[in-house]
Structure formats: structure tokens, C-alpha cells
């Protein structure tokens, strides 16, 4: 058991208040000076179904979920269906205890609500406790809460118990509850928490458990945020004041944050009939000069394919968010996966002319969101941000100063009426909106309502004034100009991009990954180097236009590289090989697609097994796939 970190897992049923309780807990630990990272596991159900949130806290920066965890608070699923062992879905009532045992570290602590959970229904429970040296506290949290009049406050009682065992001062949690709760429910909650705390202190041996909360200190003020918060705030700081959408997990988070705030910011949010409309509305608003966005998850994004192509052809600035979840089809709606990469890169007919960014961390999500708007409006090109439930649902601490930035409402290559007067027009006064020339491939635009700016935007190939044209020379000129924008964007990003190299520069081996796996990979790299290996990592956050030079340089510098991604068909490795055309024999994949994100240890194990021992993986959680060159 590692003393320097607490990984607290609160498990129960959906609807048992797991998310809000864990958020307060994480924030209290952050305020105490610790670095925190949460990991959320939940089913696609409103009431019932095993769900947990893990809060990892350490004095040192934490970038990922840990390997397993050391403290379980199992509340029991108060909305469990059919609580019989023979039932198709098993005995749901005991799942919050039973299903979490495998990952509990040796010497760990179990607190469970004996008012709802009967541990004797779990096979070999006693033996496993003994074998693993777990410390078990069976406490009737339900009755304890009921005695104070609120049975639903079992979770607060559990927090009180946790604090008593780990040494977290109750005051820290209470302070947060005061911020978040109305008076009426605050008092009973505080009382229930205290009762749980006192009960353990008085009647149990808390010193037996060797799990305690570490202490730490931040050198500057921190905030607790998710990737969804960061994307929304980035959009707001870029002056985005129009959003259209249709709910779909996990994209709904960004849509909700924007919808709740845009009216007060003088903006407009539209929940519309489907995702085709959502993307089309964003295009319509952007066409009028407004900074606009839409987004969805895989299925909804599929519906956006045709409007996305329209934005490419009409060169309408557009930002779309794609919050990936496990597919195909409805897949596993609440589980993370990175399998929509190819979908986002290539969907819609014709040659893709788009930008795709995949932030790796919460801080980077804010950055990527701002960058997406800048590129979209400066280059008049649709820009997508792909992320997944891992980044959307994880909360982590980021220095508050990271967000202390000036807004940028600039709408890029858009002309004023005065500027329009000096631009080329047809004899009858139509503005040449789509000139063959144009710096970096960008031909500046006008906006309806402006004098001297009228033109036709069309999804057909068109001449400089926008009229439909199938003239071969014009076609090539327009196509080449649009493609040229991608080179310019690549150059921009090469100067100041989102790629992160990590580990010793002269390392022997490499790990290549993209998007939300960044933190986990980096933690694995640290451990490998500590264990005497020589490894560095490159996380690619720019997928189109692809940073071929940077990736090539990275691969040139290592013997071999493991490509880590959360999907079954090695899409990122495939993209890399396609873009580089070389280095295939250096690459092999470590894949995971069971609905849970990688743990650092799985990458450590994958690395040593494959690159060092050249062996096979034992379990079925992760999988190797050799590269084409092998």
C-alpha cells in the first residue's frame, strides 16, 4: 500500500448522489493542498445500476486514475432491480461492494452500508478479506441517516466515516457543503456526517487501517474542473455566443453549460429537432458573422456529416465538438473510447478540409477550444474537438491562473463595409468572396446585410463570385486554394501547437498516444523510467492537419514505439502510418476497448511485455496488435 496517496472510491447506485458527494470530497482535498484526479464509472441509467467515482489525492501532481485504489465506501444500490443472484443482471444490491473488490489494493479499507448490503451474499467475502489484509467497517449507514430523519443522506454519513478513518478534518467538507447546500438540508447533513464520524472514533479501531490522507501544499491557487467545463469556457472566451444542439451523452455537458450561460451573456442557445439541424443552425449563424458552435457524440455527429461538408465547401467557420463514447451504434453510452477518430477525420463526401484537435488534459481542453475558434474563423474552416467521457467526466485541479485570460471575439478573415469597397466585384456588383488567390488560401468574406458584399454561398463548386461552376481550371484553383489553408494551419501549429513530449529526450523507446490518454501514459512513463527503462512519450493533440514532421522526428529518435489508444482497430496508429508512409515496422499497438480507460500499470505492463520481453499479455483487458511492418 502506498502511503503517499489516497484513492477513495465511493460506490452505489445511479441516483444515490455519488457524483455530488465525490465532487465535494475532491474539492475539500484540493483545498487542503493536495492534487486530485477523479474517475467516474456509471451506467446508462437514471435510477439504479452500479456506479462509482474514484478520487485520487496526492501531494504530488496526479495526471491519471491510479492502479486500483485503497479505500472503498460501498453504499449499496438503493434502486437495485431484481435483487436475486440468479437474475440476469445479477444481484444489483451488493454490486457496489462485490464488483469493486478485484481492484482494491492489499491492506485497503472497506466501509460498507450494512443497512443495505449483506456481505454474506458475496462468495468468499471473508476469505478474500483475510487474504488481502483488508480492514472492514460494516456500519449501518442507512439507520444512522434515518435516525437523523434523512435516509438518503447515507452518503454523507459515509463521508463522516471516511474522515474518521483517514484523518480528514470534517470542517473541510462542511465548508463545501455550506457553499453548495440550501440551509434546510445543510443542517441535517452536517449532523449526520458528525454522527458517522463520532461513531467510528468511539467504537472502532481507526488506527488498524493504515490508510490516511496525505498532506500537501499548492504553490498557487487551484480550481477543480472537468474537460467539459474547460471547453465551454474556452468557447466563451473566444466570443462564441451561439450554440445549437441536441442532447447526447457525453456531449450534453458542454451543451448544458453553454445553454445555462449564453442567455446572460447576451447569446443564443437553441435545442433543435436533430443534429442535422444543429450543425446547420451553427452554419447559418456563423454565415451571419456570429461565432457559433455545435457538437454531439458519435451518433449525432454522424448526422452532421453533410452539413460539415457544406461548411467545408462554403468555407463557413464552424466549431464542432465530438464527445466520443464506446460504439458502434448506441454502443456503451456512458463509457469512454477513442474509436471515432476516423469518423471525425473523414466523414462527409469529398476530400476532407478540416481541422481536428484532441486535447489531452483539462488545461489543454481550454486551450484547444480557444484554438479551435481561432483557426475556424481565421481560416474559414470547420474545426472539430474530439474528446471522450474520460476527459469530460474527470475532475482535476488546474492553477486558477491558467484561465485568467483576455477574451478574443475576433471573427477572423471578415471584411468591414469600408474594406469591402476596395475588393474586386463582378460588373453588376457581386463581391468576389471566393477569389482564387488569397494569403494562406484564405479569401476574406462579407456578411449578409453589408453593403457591397453580396455573393452566393453554395455547396456546389463555384467561381469567385460564388456561382456554380464546373470549369476545370476554376475547380482546380478553388480546390488548391482550400487545400492550401491546411498547410498554413500546419505551419501555425508547428510554431505554437499542442503537442506534448514527455520523458528523457534521449530515451531508447517511445510511447505514442493521442488525446485523453496523455496523463495515464505520462504516469506510466515515469514509472518505467524509475524502474530502469528508458522511455519517453509523445501525445498528439492535433490530428488534422497531421503533425508529420514532429512525429517523424520523435520516431526517428527511438528504437521502437508502442502506440496506446482506446479502440479495437488501432485507428491512430493507422493514421500515423498513412501520414508518415514510413516507420511502420517501429510501431505496435496497445489497445483497450472494454469501456474502462487505461490504468498506468496496464501501460507499464504492456510496454515491458512487448518491447522489453517480446511476450504476450496475460489478461484480456488490453490487447496487442502488431503493425503492418511486422
Amino acid at each position: 500500500m502506498s502511503d503517499d496517496e489516497l484513492i477513495w472510491r465511493i460506490a452505489g447506485g445511479s441516483g444515490d448522489g455519488i457524483a455530488s458527494t465525490s465532487q465535494n470530497f475532491a474539492k475539500a482535498l484540493m483545498r487542503s493542498g493536495l492534487h486530485v484526479f477523479t474517475h467516474r464509472h456509471y451506467p446508462s441509467r437514471i435510477r439504479g445500476g452500479h456506479t462509482y467515482v474514484e478520487v485520487r489525492a496526492s501531494a504530488d501532481p496526479v495526471k491519471s486514475r491510479g492502479d486500483g485504489y485503497n479505500f472503498l465506501l460501498a453504499l449499496g444500490d438503493s434502486f437495485a432491480r431484481n435483487p436475486q443472484e440468479e437474475a440476469y443482471y445479477g444481484n444489483e444490491e451488493v454490486k457496489p461492494l462485490e464488483e469493486n473488490l478485484d481492484e482494491l489494493r492489499e491492506g485497503g479499507v472497506i466501509v460498507y452500508d450494512s443497512g443495505l448490503l449483506d456481505a454474506s451474499e458475496i462468495p468468499d467475502f471473508e476469505e478474500r478479506v483475510e487474504e488481502n489484509d483488508w480492514h472492514v467497517y460494516d456500519i449501518d449507514l442507512r439507520s444512522l441517516a434515518r435516525e437523523q430523519g434523512r435516509e438518503v443522506m447515507r452518503n454523507t454519513a459515509g463521508v463522516g466515516v471516511t474522515c474518521a478513518i483517514t484523518g480528514i478534518p470534517l470542517g473541510a467538507i462542511e465548508e463545501l457543503m455550506r457553499d453548495a447546500m440550501p440551509e434546510k438540508i445543510l443542517e441535517p447533513n452536517v449532523e449526520i456526517m458528525q454522527t458517522g464520524y463520532d461513531l467510528v472514533r468511539e467504537e472502532y479501531d481507526v488506527d488498524a487501517a493504515e490508510v490516511s490522507v496525505p498532506t500537501g501544499e499548492h504553490d498557487e491557487e487551484q480550481v477543480l474542473m472537468s474537460g467539459s467545463d474547460a471547453i465551454a469556457y474556452g468557447a466563451i472566451d473566444e466570443g462564441c455566443r451561439f450554440i445549437a444542439g441536441y442532447p447526447m451523452t457525453p456531449w450534453t455537458e458542454v451543451f448544458t453549460i453553454m445553454s445555462q450561460n449564453l442567455p446572460e451573456l447576451g447569446g443564443i442557445s437553441e435545442q433543435v429537432e436533430d443534429e442535422i439541424a444543429a450543425a446547420a443552425l451553427a452554419i447559418g449563424a456563423s454565415h451571419m458573422g456570429v461565432k457559433a458552435m455545435s457538437g454531439s457524440s458519435g451518433g449525432g455527429f454522424a448526422l452532421m456529416g453533410e452539413p460539415l461538408g457544406l461548411a467545408e465547401m462554403t468555407e463557413t467557420p464552424l466549431v464542432l465538438i465530438e464527445a466520443m463514447r464506446a460504439g458502434p451504434s448506441t454502443g456503451m453510452p456512458t463509457k469512454p473510447e477513442q474509436a471515432d477518430l476516423e469518423h471525425v477525420l473523414y466523414t462527409s463526401q469529398g476530400d476532407s478540409q478540416r481541422v481536428v484537435l484532441a486535447p489531452g488534459t483539462v488545461a489543454e481542453a481550454y486551450e484547444a477550444s480557444r484554438r479551435a475558434f481561432q483557426l475556424a474563423y481565421e481560416y474559414q474552416i470547420p474545426t472539430m474537438i474530439i474528446y471522450d467521457q474520460k476527459l469530460s467526466g474527470e475532475l482535476t485541479n488546474v492553477p486558477a491562473s491558467h484561465f485568467d485570460r483576455e477574451p478574443n471575439p475576433d471573427i477572423g478573415a471578415t471584411l468591414t463595409e469600408d474594406e469591402l469597397a476596395d475588393q474586386p466585384h463582378t460588373a453588376d456588383g457581386k463581391f468576389h468572396r471566393f477569389q482564387h488567390e488569397g494569403e494562406d488560401g484564405v479569401s476574406p468574406r462579407s456578411v449578409p446585410g453589408q453593403k457591397g458584399g453580396r455573393f452566393l454561398a453554395t455547396g456546389n463548386e463555384h467561381n469567385p463570385a460564388g456561382h456554380i461552376s464546373e470549369d476545370p481550371d476554376n475547380r482546380v484553383a478553388q480546390m488548391d486554394r482550400r487545400q492550401r489553408k491546411l498547410d498554413a494551419i500546419r505551419a501555425d501549429l508547428d510554431d505554437d501547437g499542442l503537442l506534448v513530449e514527455y520523458g528523457p529526450e534521449d530515451a531508447e523507446y517511445g510511447v505514442l498516444t493521442f488525446g485523453s490518454q496523455q496523463g495515464t501514459v505520462e504516469e506510466a512513463v515515469d514509472r518505467l523510467n524509475e524502474n530502469g527503462h528508458s522511455v519517453k512519450a509523445l501525445t498528439v493533440a492535433e490530428l488534422a492537419p497531421y503533425p508529420a514532421d514532429a512525429v517523424r522526428a520523435f520516431l526517428d529518435s527511438v528504437e521502437e514505439a508502442l502506440v496506446v489508444e482506446m479502440n479495437a482497430s488501432a485507428q491512430f496508429r493507422g493514421l500515423t502510418q498513412k501520414e508518415l508512409g514510413t516507420h511502420g515496422e517501429l510501431l505496435s499497438s496497445l489497445l483497450k476497448y472494454n469501456g474502462n480507460p487505461f490504468e498506468p500499470a496496464e501501460i507499464v505492463e504492456g510496454f515491458t511485455t512487448k518491447l522489453v520481453d517480446d511476450g504476450e499479455l496475460p489478461g484480456n483487458e488490453t490487447k496487442f496488435v502488431p503493425a503492418a511492418g511486422d
Binding site: 491557487e221 487551484q222 480550481v223 477543480l224 467545463d229 465551454a232 469556457y233 474556452g234 472566451d237 455566443r241 445549437a244 442567455p263 447576451g266 442557445s269 437553441e270 433543435v272 429537432e273 439541424a277 446547420a280 443552425l281 451553427a282 452554419i283 447559418g284 449563424a285 454565415h287 451571419m288 458573422g289 456570429v290 461565432k291 457559433a292 452539413p307 461538408g309 457544406l310 462554403t314 484561465f403 485568467d404 485570460r405 477574451p407 471575439p409 471573427i411 471578415t414 468591414t416 463595409e417 463582378t426 460588373a427 453588376d428 456588383g429 449578409p448 446585410g449 453589408q450 453593403k451 458584399g453 453580396r454 452566393l456 454561398a457 453554395t458 455547396g459 456546389n460 456561382h467 456554380i468
Partner: protein, 312 residues
Amino acid sequence: MSAFSAIGEEREIDRDEYTPDIEPQPTWCPGCGDFGVLKALKGALPEVGRTPEETLLVTGIGCSGKLNSYLDSYGFHTIHGRSLPVARAAKLANPGVEVIAAGGDGDGYGIGGNHFMHTARENHDMTYVVFNNEIFGLTKGQTSPTSPKGHKSKTQPHGSAKTPIRPLSLSLTSGASFVARTAAVNPNQAQRILKEAMEHDGFAHIDFLTQCPTWNKDAKQYVPYTDINESEDYDFDPTNRADAQELMRETEDKLYEGEVLTGVYYRDDDRPSYQQEKQNLGEMPDEPLAERYFDGDYEWERSYDRFIDKHK
């Protein structure tokens, strides 16, 4: 000062301003009803005092979708079935612009039917012209949602088994606050109805009968027609919803029996437009959103000031 000086400009407007110089010339077949829409629109726009540069004509795909290639204004030729969502947002982003959407019967009642229903329901302040030629024109004559039952085409060799859609009834039920039918062969009425539609504050839907002599030879040229607002046979009040509903049904049935009824079927001038509803709820700014991006003095709020405290 507005960054859009074309909006609200008061001046004489010549209908020729809407006609491009030499190119592009319409490529519609001789005798096509689509010419009638173009002509009526060119007549109506100066009447409502809207200049080319304060007008945005958003179209779908089809022979009909070419409309804005031949009308000189701001135009957005979108994709099949999607003119309405693009047009809707354009109007929300800058309500000062006159927004007109147009497309075919396949475009609007088929592939874009969902948007039609919802745009009508929301009562966006715009005009929507559906070129109803009872056929897919551009793709060479397949059966459309308004083709009569039994209609034979290359893709329905035994005749359509489907009852046609009822465009007027659907519009009314969905919530349109102005519903009319006119015909290309009736230019004066068409121009008058278009003018009324543009002046109406809400969603104004016009089912515009446009004969397709190339692929739909069986269909009538939509003559003779009866104007229900003028004919003495019809004592009709378009503000009466129940009457409108009844006459719409009759009109839809009669079309397939060879009798063409046209006119304004329904209007509700009291219903607030979607923009007004949203503004009443505080969900849409009073000043056009588009202006803000040209206003150097506007104070943009920072996310840091609004949100950071709740994350501490």
C-alpha cells in the same frame, strides 16, 4: 452605428436590381414553373422595400434550389432539405436581414420534413416557398411526397402506393402562422401573396404550384384556378382556424381531381414570432447578435470572472 448599412436603407428599389447582368441565366426548362417564382419574388421584394443586400435567400437542392443563382441578393444554396435550419439561425443571428427560404417538394416535405414541422412550430419570422411540382425534378422525375397516389415513375413502375402528403394541413397543424397556396401560372396573385408573406411577422409558408413540363406531363398546368379569397363561391375568413383546416383538406383533395384552389388559407397576426418569444424569456438579445462582433467598444465578459469562483 450599424455595421450593416444595407439594413433599413430607405430608397427606391428597381426590380432589375435583383437580376444578374448577363450570367448566370436561368437554366430551367422552357415552360418551367420555377420562372414564375423568380418573377414573383423580383416583383414582391421592391414592394416590401427590401434591397438585395439586406436580403438573404436560402435554398435547398433541386431545380428549385437554383433560385438564388438567378436572383441577385445574398444567397445560400445549402444541401438537400436543409434550407430551413440554416435560414432560421441566420434570422436569429441578425433579425434585421430579410430571410427567405425556398426549395422543392421533395426538399421541404420529404428529406427536410422534420425541419419543416419544427420551423413552423417555432414560428420563425421568415418566408418559406415550396416549389410544388409533385415530382423530383432535378433527379429526373421520380415520385415525390406530393405525387398523386398511383403516380408512375422510373422508381415506382407500378405506381405509387402512397397517399400524398397534405402540405397545407401539415403546415397548419405544425404551427405556421401564415399558410398560402399559389401557382406559377398566376403571377399577380403569387406576387401579392409573397408580399403578404414577407410582411407577416412569423413563419409564412407558401405552397407554390410550379408545373414541370419535362417530367410531370400528366400534371395539370394548374389552370384554371380559383382564388378562394376572391371567388364568390367561397365565403372564407383566413383567420378562422377551423374554416382554414376544412378548406385546406378540400384544396388538397381537389388538386388531384383537377381542380386548382389557391389563396391565403390561414393567418394569425397575433401570435408572437419565435424571436419575440425568446426575447420575452430573456433568451435572445435585443440588439442583433451579429452587430456585436463589429462593435469595438463592446465589453466581452471573461469566463474567469463569471465562473472561476465556483471551482475554487
